[in-house]
Protein backbone atom coordinates (compact mmCIF):
# COMPACT_ATOMS: atom_id res chain seq x y z
CA UNK A 1 0.00 0.00 0.00
CA UNK A 2 1.24 3.45 -0.88
CA UNK A 3 0.62 6.57 1.13
CA UNK A 4 -0.54 9.86 -0.33
CA UNK A 5 2.92 11.37 -0.34
CA UNK A 6 4.55 8.84 -2.63
CA UNK A 7 1.38 8.55 -4.69
CA UNK A 8 1.37 12.30 -5.27
CA UNK A 9 5.05 12.48 -6.12
CA UNK A 10 4.75 9.59 -8.57
CA UNK A 11 1.69 11.14 -10.12
CA UNK A 12 3.31 14.52 -10.62
CA UNK A 13 6.61 13.11 -11.85
CA UNK A 14 4.89 10.60 -14.10
CA UNK A 15 3.43 13.34 -16.25
CA UNK A 16 6.86 14.33 -17.49
CA UNK A 17 8.44 12.91 -20.59
CA UNK A 18 12.01 12.96 -21.74
CA UNK A 19 13.74 16.33 -21.32
CA UNK A 20 15.18 18.12 -24.33
CA UNK A 21 18.80 17.72 -23.35
CA UNK A 22 21.52 19.39 -25.38
CA UNK A 23 24.33 16.88 -25.21
CA UNK A 24 26.66 18.99 -27.35
CA UNK A 25 26.21 21.86 -24.96
CA UNK A 26 26.92 19.59 -21.99
CA UNK A 27 30.13 18.35 -23.60
CA UNK A 28 31.23 21.83 -24.65
CA UNK A 29 30.54 23.35 -21.25
CA UNK A 30 31.99 20.32 -19.48
CA UNK A 31 35.23 20.54 -21.40
CA UNK A 32 35.44 24.25 -20.61
CA UNK A 33 34.98 23.60 -16.91
CA UNK A 34 37.38 20.68 -16.88
CA UNK A 35 40.31 22.91 -17.63
CA UNK A 36 39.39 25.23 -14.80
CA UNK A 37 38.50 22.55 -12.30
CA UNK A 38 41.86 20.99 -12.82
CA UNK A 39 43.17 23.94 -10.92
CA UNK A 40 40.24 24.69 -8.67
CA UNK A 41 39.74 21.25 -7.22
CA UNK A 42 43.41 20.97 -6.77
CA UNK A 43 44.08 24.12 -4.94
CA UNK A 44 42.33 22.66 -1.93
CA UNK A 45 45.56 20.98 -1.10
CA UNK A 46 47.77 23.98 -1.01
CA UNK A 47 49.90 24.90 1.98
CA UNK A 48 48.24 25.26 5.35
CA UNK A 49 49.31 26.43 8.76
CA UNK A 50 46.85 26.47 11.61
CA UNK A 51 46.24 25.78 15.24
CA UNK A 52 43.16 23.65 15.80
CA UNK A 53 40.50 25.25 17.91
CA UNK A 54 41.65 28.80 17.96
CA UNK A 55 44.47 30.06 20.20
CA UNK A 56 45.81 31.92 17.23
CA UNK A 57 48.70 33.48 19.06
CA UNK A 58 51.31 34.72 16.68
CA UNK A 59 54.83 34.47 17.94
CA UNK A 60 56.39 36.82 15.52
CA UNK A 61 59.90 37.99 16.17
CA UNK A 62 60.09 41.45 14.68
CA UNK A 63 63.68 40.76 13.82
CA UNK A 64 62.86 37.62 11.95
CA UNK A 65 61.78 38.44 8.43
CA UNK A 66 60.40 34.98 7.92
CA UNK A 67 58.15 35.20 10.96
CA UNK A 68 56.85 32.24 12.83
CA UNK A 69 53.32 31.25 13.73
CA UNK A 70 52.13 29.51 16.85
CA UNK A 71 52.25 26.09 15.29
CA UNK A 72 55.99 26.42 14.90
CA UNK A 73 56.05 26.60 11.15
CA UNK A 74 57.94 29.35 9.44
CA UNK A 75 56.47 31.57 6.81
CA UNK A 76 59.35 31.70 4.45
CA UNK A 77 58.32 33.53 1.31
CA UNK A 78 57.94 31.20 -1.61
CA UNK A 79 58.98 32.08 -5.10
CA UNK A 80 56.62 31.55 -7.99
CA UNK A 81 57.54 28.36 -9.82
CA UNK A 82 56.24 25.80 -12.29
CA UNK A 83 57.49 22.48 -13.58
CA UNK A 84 57.83 20.93 -17.02
CA UNK A 85 59.17 17.45 -17.55
CA UNK A 86 61.74 16.81 -14.84
CA UNK A 87 62.57 20.47 -14.23
CA UNK A 88 61.26 23.05 -11.80
CA UNK A 89 61.53 26.59 -13.12
CA UNK A 90 62.07 29.26 -10.47
CA UNK A 91 62.79 32.71 -11.79
CA UNK A 92 65.86 32.36 -13.99
CA UNK A 93 66.85 29.06 -12.41
CA UNK A 94 66.01 25.54 -13.53
CA UNK A 95 66.21 22.75 -10.98
CA UNK A 96 66.67 19.25 -12.36
CA UNK A 97 64.71 16.70 -10.35
CA UNK A 98 66.17 13.83 -12.36
CA UNK A 99 62.75 12.23 -12.83
CA UNK A 100 59.47 13.24 -14.49
CA UNK A 101 57.47 15.45 -12.16
CA UNK A 102 53.86 14.32 -11.79
CA UNK A 103 52.86 16.75 -9.02
CA UNK A 104 54.88 18.88 -6.64
CA UNK A 105 54.82 21.22 -3.66
CA UNK A 106 57.28 23.61 -2.12
CA UNK A 107 58.20 23.44 1.57
CA UNK A 108 60.49 25.68 3.60
CA UNK A 109 63.19 23.02 3.33
CA UNK A 110 62.91 22.07 -0.33
CA UNK A 111 60.59 20.64 -2.95
CA UNK A 112 58.65 17.39 -2.81
CA UNK A 113 57.30 15.76 -5.93
CA UNK A 114 55.58 12.62 -7.08
CA UNK A 115 56.77 10.98 -10.26
CA UNK A 116 55.29 8.80 -12.94
CA UNK A 117 56.32 5.68 -10.98
CA UNK A 118 54.13 7.04 -8.14
CA UNK A 119 57.21 7.45 -5.96
CA UNK A 120 57.35 10.44 -3.62
CA UNK A 121 60.68 12.27 -3.83
CA UNK A 122 62.34 15.15 -2.05
CA UNK A 123 64.50 17.62 -3.96
CA UNK A 124 66.77 19.40 -1.50
CA UNK A 125 69.86 21.32 -2.56
CA UNK A 126 69.91 19.60 -5.92
CA UNK A 127 69.68 16.10 -4.45
CA UNK A 128 66.70 13.87 -5.20
CA UNK A 129 65.74 11.12 -2.73
CA UNK A 130 62.79 8.75 -2.67
CA UNK A 131 60.79 8.97 0.57
CA UNK A 132 57.52 7.19 -0.18
CA UNK A 133 54.98 5.78 -2.62
CA UNK A 134 51.57 7.16 -3.45
CA UNK A 135 48.48 5.05 -3.06
CA UNK A 136 46.40 5.07 -6.20
CA UNK A 137 46.28 8.81 -6.84
CA UNK A 138 43.13 10.22 -8.38
CA UNK A 139 43.50 12.82 -11.11
CA UNK A 140 42.67 16.35 -9.98
CA UNK A 141 42.79 15.46 -6.28
CA UNK A 142 45.68 16.78 -4.19
CA UNK A 143 48.22 14.03 -3.66
CA UNK A 144 50.83 16.11 -1.80
CA UNK A 145 50.06 18.73 0.87
CA UNK A 146 52.73 20.97 2.36
CA UNK A 147 53.09 23.35 5.26
CA UNK A 148 56.25 24.86 6.69
CA UNK A 149 58.90 22.16 6.36
CA UNK A 150 56.35 19.31 6.39
CA UNK A 151 54.73 17.43 3.56
CA UNK A 152 51.92 14.87 3.75
CA UNK A 153 50.51 12.26 1.42
CA UNK A 154 48.54 9.02 1.39
CA UNK A 155 51.24 6.39 1.12
CA UNK A 156 51.03 2.80 -0.08
CA UNK A 157 48.92 0.47 2.03
CA UNK A 158 46.60 3.36 2.84
CA UNK A 159 48.86 4.99 5.40
CA UNK A 160 48.79 8.76 5.78
CA UNK A 161 52.38 9.94 6.13
CA UNK A 162 53.76 13.32 7.09
CA UNK A 163 57.47 13.98 6.73
CA UNK A 164 59.35 16.92 8.18
CA UNK A 165 62.03 17.74 5.65
CA UNK A 166 63.96 19.76 8.21
CA UNK A 167 64.39 16.84 10.63
CA UNK A 168 63.68 13.77 8.54
CA UNK A 169 61.04 12.68 11.04
CA UNK A 170 58.12 10.72 9.59
CA UNK A 171 54.80 10.02 11.31
CA UNK A 172 52.00 7.86 9.95
CA UNK A 173 48.46 6.73 10.67
CA UNK A 174 46.12 4.44 8.73
CA UNK A 175 43.38 5.76 6.50
CA UNK A 176 39.90 4.52 7.23
CA UNK A 177 37.49 3.61 4.49
CA UNK A 178 34.77 2.20 6.68
CA UNK A 179 31.61 4.17 6.37
CA UNK A 180 32.32 5.40 2.89
CA UNK A 181 28.96 5.21 1.21
CA UNK A 182 29.44 4.11 -2.31
CA UNK A 183 30.57 6.94 -4.47
CA UNK A 184 33.59 9.05 -5.08
CA UNK A 185 34.99 9.46 -1.60
CA UNK A 186 38.74 9.27 -1.61
CA UNK A 187 40.84 9.31 1.54
CA UNK A 188 43.01 12.40 1.54
CA UNK A 189 44.84 14.96 3.61
CA UNK A 190 42.83 18.12 3.01
CA UNK A 191 44.97 20.57 4.98
CA UNK A 192 48.21 20.49 6.93
CA UNK A 193 49.17 22.75 9.79
CA UNK A 194 52.46 22.36 11.55
CA UNK A 195 51.32 19.96 14.25
CA UNK A 196 47.90 19.12 12.85
CA UNK A 197 46.85 17.36 9.68
CA UNK A 198 43.23 17.46 8.58
CA UNK A 199 42.07 14.30 6.92
CA UNK A 200 38.90 13.24 5.14
CA UNK A 201 38.01 9.59 4.73
CA UNK A 202 35.41 7.06 5.79
CA UNK A 203 35.25 8.65 9.22
CA UNK A 204 34.41 12.01 7.72
CA UNK A 205 36.63 14.94 8.71
CA UNK A 206 39.43 14.03 11.09
CA UNK A 207 42.09 16.04 12.90
CA UNK A 208 45.40 14.21 13.36
CA UNK A 209 47.79 15.54 15.98
CA UNK A 210 51.20 14.86 14.50
CA UNK A 211 53.00 15.13 17.83
CA UNK A 212 50.80 12.97 20.04
CA UNK A 213 49.50 10.75 17.25
CA UNK A 214 45.93 11.31 18.42
CA UNK A 215 43.34 11.02 15.66
CA UNK A 216 40.08 12.76 16.44
CA UNK A 217 37.03 12.76 14.18
CA UNK A 218 35.71 16.30 14.08
CA UNK A 219 32.13 16.36 15.11
CA UNK A 220 29.31 16.24 15.67
CA UNK A 221 29.67 19.84 16.85
CA UNK A 222 31.61 20.79 13.74
CA UNK A 223 31.82 17.86 11.39
CA UNK A 224 32.54 19.90 8.32
CA UNK A 225 35.43 19.19 5.98
CA UNK A 226 38.38 21.49 6.52
CA UNK A 227 39.15 22.94 3.12
CA UNK A 228 42.15 24.92 4.31
CA UNK A 229 43.69 26.02 7.57
CA UNK A 230 46.15 28.77 8.35
CA UNK A 231 47.41 30.33 11.54
CA UNK A 232 44.36 29.82 13.72
CA UNK A 233 41.87 30.14 10.90
CA UNK A 234 39.90 27.23 9.48
CA UNK A 235 37.97 27.34 6.25
CA UNK A 236 35.29 24.67 6.31
CA UNK A 237 32.59 23.59 3.91
CA UNK A 238 29.08 22.40 4.56
CA UNK A 239 26.02 23.20 6.60
CA UNK A 240 24.70 25.64 7.52
CA UNK A 241 27.12 27.23 5.10
CA UNK A 242 30.73 27.28 4.11
CA UNK A 243 32.52 29.32 6.70
CA UNK A 244 35.74 30.84 7.90
CA UNK A 245 36.25 29.98 11.56
CA UNK A 246 38.60 31.97 13.74
CA UNK A 247 39.24 31.95 17.45
CA UNK A 248 36.66 34.71 17.83
CA UNK A 249 33.83 33.50 15.66
CA UNK A 250 32.59 32.29 12.33
CA UNK A 251 32.04 34.14 9.07
CA UNK A 252 29.81 32.57 6.40
CA UNK A 253 31.34 32.46 2.94
CA UNK A 254 30.34 30.72 -0.24
CA UNK A 255 32.84 28.69 -2.18
CA UNK A 256 32.42 26.19 -4.97
CA UNK A 257 35.27 23.78 -4.77
CA UNK A 258 38.28 25.32 -3.22
CA UNK A 259 39.66 28.07 -1.12
CA UNK A 260 43.20 28.88 -0.21
CA UNK A 261 43.91 30.96 2.86
CA UNK A 262 46.87 33.28 3.09
CA UNK A 263 49.51 32.14 5.61
CA UNK A 264 48.20 34.58 8.23
CA UNK A 265 44.57 33.65 7.56
CA UNK A 266 43.71 37.21 6.55
CA UNK A 267 42.79 36.59 2.93
CA UNK A 268 41.56 33.73 0.83
CA UNK A 269 41.52 33.07 -2.87
CA UNK A 270 38.55 31.05 -3.96
CA UNK A 271 36.05 30.61 -6.76
CA UNK A 272 32.33 30.77 -7.16
CA UNK A 273 30.21 30.41 -10.26
CA UNK A 274 33.35 29.55 -12.18
CA UNK A 275 34.99 32.86 -11.32
CA UNK A 276 38.11 33.19 -9.23
CA UNK A 277 38.19 35.96 -6.67
CA UNK A 278 39.82 37.23 -3.52
CA UNK A 279 38.08 37.70 -0.17
CA UNK A 280 38.88 39.12 3.22
CA UNK A 281 38.60 35.93 5.28
CA UNK A 282 37.74 37.87 8.42
CA UNK A 283 34.63 39.43 6.92
CA UNK A 284 33.84 37.40 3.81
CA UNK A 285 33.96 40.62 1.79
CA UNK A 286 35.04 40.32 -1.82
CA UNK A 287 38.16 42.36 -2.58
CA UNK A 288 39.54 43.82 -5.81
CA UNK A 289 41.38 41.33 -8.02
CA UNK A 290 42.50 43.31 -11.05
CA UNK A 291 44.05 40.59 -13.14
CA UNK A 292 43.00 42.04 -16.48
CA UNK A 293 42.33 38.66 -18.16
CA UNK A 294 39.28 36.72 -19.24
CA UNK A 295 39.62 34.22 -16.44
CA UNK A 296 41.89 33.97 -13.42
CA UNK A 297 42.31 32.06 -10.22
CA UNK A 298 44.67 32.60 -7.32
CA UNK A 299 46.28 29.26 -6.52
CA UNK A 300 49.23 29.83 -4.17
CA UNK A 301 50.21 32.31 -1.49
CA UNK A 302 53.81 33.42 -1.87
CA UNK A 303 53.76 35.62 1.26
CA UNK A 304 51.07 36.78 3.68
CA UNK A 305 49.97 39.42 1.19
CA UNK A 306 51.09 38.15 -2.20
CA UNK A 307 49.63 35.36 -4.25
CA UNK A 308 50.21 33.65 -7.55
CA UNK A 309 47.39 33.45 -10.07
CA UNK A 310 46.94 31.53 -13.28
CA UNK A 311 45.07 33.32 -16.04
CA UNK A 312 43.60 32.49 -19.44
CA UNK A 313 42.34 34.63 -22.28
CA UNK A 314 39.89 33.70 -24.99
CA UNK A 315 41.48 32.77 -28.29
CA UNK A 316 39.06 31.95 -31.08
CA UNK A 317 36.53 29.47 -29.75
CA UNK A 318 38.84 28.27 -27.02
CA UNK A 319 41.45 29.52 -24.65
CA UNK A 320 44.96 30.73 -25.26
CA UNK A 321 48.04 29.70 -23.35
CA UNK A 322 47.89 30.29 -19.61
CA UNK A 323 50.13 32.83 -17.90
CA UNK A 324 51.13 33.25 -14.27
CA UNK A 325 50.71 36.51 -12.37
CA UNK A 326 51.93 37.77 -9.03
CA UNK A 327 49.23 39.75 -7.22
CA UNK A 328 49.11 41.94 -4.12
CA UNK A 329 46.14 41.20 -1.87
CA UNK A 330 46.08 44.68 -0.35
CA UNK A 331 45.52 46.42 -3.69
CA UNK A 332 44.40 43.64 -6.02
CA UNK A 333 47.07 44.72 -8.48
CA UNK A 334 48.81 42.03 -10.52
CA UNK A 335 51.84 41.79 -12.72
CA UNK A 336 52.78 39.10 -15.19
CA UNK A 337 55.55 36.81 -13.98
CA UNK A 338 55.42 33.99 -16.52
CA UNK A 339 54.09 35.22 -19.82
CA UNK A 340 53.15 31.94 -21.50
CA UNK A 341 53.07 28.45 -20.15
CA UNK A 342 52.65 25.44 -22.42
CA UNK A 343 49.15 25.43 -23.83
CA UNK A 344 47.84 22.25 -22.28
CA UNK A 345 47.33 21.34 -18.67
CA UNK A 346 49.43 18.26 -18.14
CA UNK A 347 52.36 19.76 -20.03
CA UNK A 348 53.23 21.78 -16.95
CA UNK A 349 52.61 21.47 -13.22
CA UNK A 350 52.07 24.07 -10.51
CA UNK A 351 53.23 23.69 -6.87
CA UNK A 352 49.83 22.74 -5.54
CA UNK A 353 50.26 19.01 -5.06
CA UNK A 354 47.93 18.02 -7.86
CA UNK A 355 48.82 16.24 -11.06
CA UNK A 356 47.39 17.95 -14.09
CA UNK A 357 46.95 15.26 -16.68
CA UNK A 358 46.88 15.78 -20.40
CA UNK A 359 43.50 15.51 -22.05
CA UNK A 360 42.75 12.84 -24.60
Amino acid sequence: MTGKLIETMRSQAGELGSPALDLDSIVHEGDRRTRRRRLAVVAVGVVGAVVLGGAAVRLVDPGDPEGQVADGTTQRPHELSYATGSRIHVGDTDLDAGRPIRAYVETDAGYVFSSTDLGVYTLIDGETARVGTLTKPVDDVPELVADGSRVGWLDADDLYKVRDLATGEVVETPANHEGVRGSAVSASITALDGATAYLFDGRGPVAWDLESGAVNPRGPADSRRVVDAEDGVLLVEGEPSDAVITSTGSVPVQIDDFANLSPDGHYATTSRDDTGFLIDARTGERLPFDHGHDWAIGYQWLTDGTFAAMVFDHEGDGWGKPALLTCAAATGACETTVRQLPAELGEFQLPIGVAFVTEG
Binding site: L5, E7, A13, L21, V27, G30, D140, V141, G360
Partner: protein, 174 residues
Amino acid sequence: MKARDQNAFAEFAAGRAVALHRAAYLLVGDRQLAQDLVQEALTKTYVAWPRLRDPGNAEAYCRKAMTTTAISWFRRKGWDNERPTETVPELGHEYDDASAQRVTLWQALLELPVRQRASLVLRFYEDLTEAQTADVMGCAVGTVKSQVSAALKKLRDRLGDDVELLSPDEMVGA
Protein backbone atom coordinates in the same frame (compact mmCIF):
# COMPACT_ATOMS: atom_id res chain seq x y z
CA MET B 1 37.60 13.24 -22.57
CA LYS B 2 38.44 10.25 -24.67
CA ALA B 3 35.96 9.32 -27.40
CA ARG B 4 35.03 6.02 -25.80
CA ASP B 5 34.32 7.80 -22.52
CA GLN B 6 32.19 10.37 -24.32
CA ASN B 7 30.17 7.55 -25.82
CA ALA B 8 29.72 5.96 -22.41
CA PHE B 9 28.65 9.28 -20.95
CA ALA B 10 26.17 9.86 -23.79
CA GLU B 11 24.73 6.43 -23.16
CA PHE B 12 24.43 7.15 -19.46
CA ALA B 13 22.77 10.52 -20.06
CA ALA B 14 20.27 9.09 -22.51
CA GLY B 15 19.43 6.19 -20.25
CA ARG B 16 18.88 8.29 -17.16
CA ALA B 17 17.36 11.45 -18.64
CA VAL B 18 13.72 10.68 -17.94
CA ALA B 19 14.28 9.52 -14.36
CA LEU B 20 16.49 12.52 -13.65
CA HIS B 21 13.98 14.89 -15.16
CA ARG B 22 11.20 13.54 -12.98
CA ALA B 23 13.23 13.75 -9.79
CA ALA B 24 14.37 17.23 -10.77
CA TYR B 25 10.79 18.32 -11.24
CA LEU B 26 9.92 17.15 -7.75
CA LEU B 27 12.85 19.14 -6.40
CA VAL B 28 12.10 22.42 -8.16
CA GLY B 29 8.43 22.25 -9.18
CA ASP B 30 8.94 23.79 -12.62
CA ARG B 31 9.39 21.89 -15.86
CA GLN B 32 11.82 24.27 -17.53
CA LEU B 33 13.80 24.69 -14.36
CA ALA B 34 13.85 20.92 -13.95
CA GLN B 35 15.27 20.59 -17.43
CA ASP B 36 17.93 23.17 -16.65
CA LEU B 37 18.71 21.30 -13.46
CA VAL B 38 19.19 18.02 -15.29
CA GLN B 39 21.39 19.76 -17.85
CA GLU B 40 23.53 21.22 -15.07
CA ALA B 41 23.76 17.95 -13.13
CA LEU B 42 24.79 16.08 -16.27
CA THR B 43 27.39 18.73 -17.05
CA LYS B 44 28.88 18.26 -13.59
CA THR B 45 28.78 14.52 -14.06
CA TYR B 46 30.52 14.86 -17.41
CA VAL B 47 33.31 16.85 -15.78
CA ALA B 48 33.71 14.18 -13.10
CA TRP B 49 33.24 11.27 -15.50
CA PRO B 50 36.90 10.19 -15.84
CA ARG B 51 37.16 9.50 -12.12
CA LEU B 52 33.71 7.98 -11.59
CA ARG B 53 34.81 4.80 -13.31
CA ASP B 54 31.57 2.81 -13.20
CA PRO B 55 27.91 3.57 -13.89
CA GLY B 56 26.92 3.06 -10.25
CA ASN B 57 29.22 5.86 -9.21
CA ALA B 58 27.95 8.06 -12.03
CA GLU B 59 24.37 7.51 -10.96
CA ALA B 60 25.12 8.44 -7.36
CA TYR B 61 27.26 11.40 -8.38
CA CYS B 62 24.62 12.77 -10.74
CA ARG B 63 21.88 12.46 -8.15
CA LYS B 64 24.05 14.24 -5.64
CA ALA B 65 24.96 16.96 -8.13
CA MET B 66 21.32 17.53 -8.96
CA THR B 67 20.23 17.76 -5.34
CA THR B 68 22.99 20.02 -4.16
CA THR B 69 22.59 22.23 -7.24
CA ALA B 70 18.88 22.59 -6.59
CA ILE B 71 19.51 23.47 -2.96
CA SER B 72 22.19 25.91 -4.01
CA TRP B 73 19.90 27.62 -6.54
CA PHE B 74 17.18 28.10 -3.98
CA ARG B 75 19.63 29.31 -1.36
CA ARG B 76 21.45 31.75 -3.60
CA LYS B 77 18.41 33.14 -5.29
CA GLY B 78 16.49 33.39 -2.07
CA TRP B 79 13.58 31.45 -3.55
CA ASP B 80 12.93 28.87 -0.90
CA ASN B 81 9.26 28.50 -0.09
CA GLU B 82 8.34 31.90 -1.49
CA ARG B 83 9.07 31.00 -5.05
CA PRO B 84 5.95 30.80 -7.22
CA THR B 85 5.61 27.64 -9.24
CA GLU B 86 4.52 27.34 -12.82
CA THR B 87 1.79 24.80 -12.41
CA VAL B 88 -0.90 24.48 -9.90
CA PRO B 89 -2.73 21.39 -11.10
CA GLU B 90 -6.16 22.15 -12.38
CA LEU B 91 -8.97 20.30 -10.76
CA GLY B 92 -11.41 20.56 -13.63
CA HIS B 93 -14.91 19.30 -13.26
CA GLU B 94 -14.23 15.77 -12.23
CA TYR B 95 -12.12 16.19 -9.17
CA ASP B 96 -12.87 14.16 -6.11
CA ASP B 97 -11.55 14.22 -2.61
CA ALA B 98 -8.52 12.18 -3.56
CA SER B 99 -7.65 14.53 -6.41
CA ALA B 100 -8.15 17.53 -4.24
CA GLN B 101 -5.88 16.03 -1.63
CA ARG B 102 -3.16 15.41 -4.21
CA VAL B 103 -3.41 19.00 -5.43
CA THR B 104 -3.19 20.33 -1.91
CA LEU B 105 -0.35 18.00 -1.06
CA TRP B 106 1.61 18.91 -4.18
CA GLN B 107 1.20 22.58 -3.42
CA ALA B 108 2.26 21.99 0.17
CA LEU B 109 5.30 20.06 -1.02
CA LEU B 110 6.36 22.96 -3.19
CA GLU B 111 6.03 25.34 -0.29
CA LEU B 112 8.41 23.36 1.88
CA PRO B 113 11.96 24.69 2.31
CA VAL B 114 14.06 23.10 -0.41
CA ARG B 115 16.13 20.93 1.92
CA GLN B 116 13.02 19.47 3.52
CA ARG B 117 11.51 18.80 0.12
CA ALA B 118 14.74 17.21 -1.09
CA SER B 119 14.85 14.92 1.92
CA LEU B 120 11.32 13.69 1.16
CA VAL B 121 12.05 13.20 -2.54
CA LEU B 122 15.21 11.24 -1.84
CA ARG B 123 13.77 9.15 0.98
CA PHE B 124 10.36 8.34 -0.44
CA TYR B 125 10.41 8.93 -4.20
CA GLU B 126 13.97 7.75 -4.83
CA ASP B 127 13.59 5.20 -2.01
CA LEU B 128 17.03 5.88 -0.56
CA THR B 129 17.99 4.94 2.98
CA GLU B 130 18.62 7.68 5.51
CA ALA B 131 22.35 7.11 5.16
CA GLN B 132 22.17 7.35 1.38
CA THR B 133 20.04 10.47 1.63
CA ALA B 134 22.55 12.03 4.00
CA ASP B 135 25.33 11.24 1.56
CA VAL B 136 23.47 12.83 -1.34
CA MET B 137 22.59 15.93 0.66
CA GLY B 138 26.03 16.19 2.23
CA CYS B 139 24.75 16.20 5.78
CA ALA B 140 24.51 13.95 8.82
CA VAL B 141 21.93 11.18 9.13
CA GLY B 142 20.48 13.03 12.11
CA THR B 143 19.90 16.04 9.90
CA VAL B 144 17.99 13.90 7.42
CA LYS B 145 15.82 12.57 10.23
CA SER B 146 15.03 16.07 11.46
CA GLN B 147 14.38 17.40 7.93
CA VAL B 148 12.01 14.55 7.13
CA SER B 149 10.27 14.88 10.46
CA ALA B 150 9.81 18.63 10.07
CA ALA B 151 8.57 18.23 6.50
CA LEU B 152 6.02 15.58 7.41
CA LYS B 153 4.77 17.69 10.30
CA LYS B 154 4.22 20.65 7.98
CA LEU B 155 2.37 18.51 5.50
CA ARG B 156 0.18 17.03 8.21
CA ASP B 157 -0.53 20.47 9.58
CA ARG B 158 -1.63 21.48 6.13
CA LEU B 159 -3.66 18.41 5.21
CA GLY B 160 -4.89 17.24 8.57
CA ASP B 161 -4.31 14.02 10.40
CA ASP B 162 -6.91 12.11 8.43
CA VAL B 163 -4.73 11.95 5.36
CA GLU B 164 -2.40 8.98 5.37
CA LEU B 165 0.80 10.52 4.07
CA LEU B 166 2.78 7.33 4.47
CA SER B 167 1.62 3.77 4.68
CA PRO B 168 2.73 1.77 7.72
CA ASP B 169 5.51 0.17 5.65
CA GLU B 170 6.71 3.53 4.43
CA MET B 171 6.61 4.91 7.93
CA VAL B 172 9.47 2.62 9.00
CA GLY B 173 12.42 4.85 9.62
CA ALA B 174 10.45 8.01 9.07
